[in-house]
Amino acid sequence: MSAYDAIAPLYDPWSSSVVEDISFYVDEALASGGPVVELGVGTGRVAIPTAMAGVDVIGVDSSAGMLAVCRQRADEAGVGGRLDLRLGDLRTPPVDERVQLVTCPFRAYLHLRNDDERLEALSATRELLRPGGKLVFDVFTPSREDIEETHGRWIEREPGIDERADWDLDARTLTLSVRGQTGESTMTLWWLEPARWHVLLAEAGLDVLACYGWFDRRPYAGGEDSVWIALRK
């Protein structure tokens, strides 16, 4: 049972303002020639536009509820045939195919709780890549200001949908609560510094090609968001 199951119907309206990453991931998918493995595919917020651009997607998620929404949305969009959705974990993705591109959008890697889990997931990701293939993902690292802005308060994120962020600077966790008319859920995200991502990627046998500060590919220069492109040699 995944924390996402409880909010699967709520997920799309909740994240409807998050759009900046879609064209970035679609561009990467098109450049790779496909198919792309998307880890944490969720409701298909990125995968469906990718499929609509003509790229086949193998989507992995640990929430059956999210995958059900994704399947329905893909069928509605007429791209159900391009999406191969599989229930599974980031650390042990049920994928035998070897591809040019694996993506993990919308900080899904922050569901990993410690370095052991991160290394397990990154190493498993590397195994999905052909030599020369790329892993593309994004994560965040909050600043003190980011934390003070939102900490411990319910905020109406979208009409009828409230969100609350509880940050723990020592444990480096964000406990995110969301509630709406159709459900509510709480999940925890574990963040880390970009310098640590560099080390973990190298340990997993992935070469960092770029660390951007946003989806427009500006170089990372401090700040909350980081967008990564790493290569399997």
Binding site: A195, H198, V199, A202, V208, L209, A210, C211, Y212
Partner: protein, 228 residues
């Protein structure tokens, strides 16, 4: 060297043939008790793993903006400061504990005069007891004879080598790119350069396994020290 602008996009693929030097410079960086500077940092081939593995901040200087752009994208999030500049006239805000130049980059300096200027500048930039480390190939007439005029395909980067022995120079040319020049130096020239710059030889290795330098060695791996 700004002529590297036209090599930037292929440099890392091409440089795959470089000796395995990273571990050596990482070791020196771990031992450095103060600021660390890499001259001719390029795409960050050495500096990025060095910063990642030691966690220590490094200042990297290079004269090619295109090479630095690649390094900047890759190194973002690491404490690696990248600065456009010429190693012949760089200035540091505070004296360094280690200045290092991997990848034979000192061979881009023409002749004695340019090399001497850089060695003296490095020496002035070091703290007492600070180290200067670099490597360069040892000229071999048999290697030169086998490579002169040859067009090589190294990991898809097709380039041609021409030796001009009277000028101690090898030219590396590639279609559509500026020609790179390397001016090699002998052991006694390197020793002389260190000497006039007031640097003492701590070690001369014949390779990155830190084997002794012998008559058969093809690489100078120097570690020098400014007197305390």
């Amino acid at each position: 060297m700004a002529e590297y602008d036209s090599w930037a996009s292929v440099y890392d693929a091409w440089g795959g043939g470089m000796p395995d030097d990273v571990a050596h410079y990482v070791r020196l960086a771990r031992e450095a008790d103060g600021p660390i500077v890499e001259l001719a940092v390029g795409t960050g081939r050495v500096a990025i793993p060095l910063v990642r593995e030691t966690g220590k901040p490094v200042l990297g200087i290079d004269s090619s903006a295109a090479m630095l752009d690649i390094a900047r994208e890759r190194a973002a999030g690491l404490p690696l400061e990248l600065r456009l500049g010429d190693m012949r006239d760089f200035e540091l805000d505070e004296p360094a504990a280690l200045v290092y130049v991997p990848g034979r980059s000192l061979l881009h300096l023409r002749g004695w005069a340019e090399k001497r200027a850089v060695f003296e500048r490095v020496s002035r930039s070091l703290r007492p007891g600070g180290r200067f480390a670099f490597n360069a190939f040892a000229f071999s007439h048999t290697v030169a004879a086998s490579l002169d005029g040859q067009t090589l395909d190294q990991n898809g980067v097709v380039h041609t080598l021409h030796y001009a022995v009277g000028d101690s120079r090898v030219d590396i040319s590639r279609d559509g790119a500026a020609t790179l020049h390397l001016w090699w130096a002998t052991r006694s020239e390197w020793e002389g350069l260190l000497d006039v710059a007031g640097l003492g030889v701590e070690a001369l290795y014949g390779g990155f396994a830190l084997e002794p330098f012998t008559d058969e060695s093809h690489e100078f791996v120097w570690v020098a020290r400014k007197p305390s």
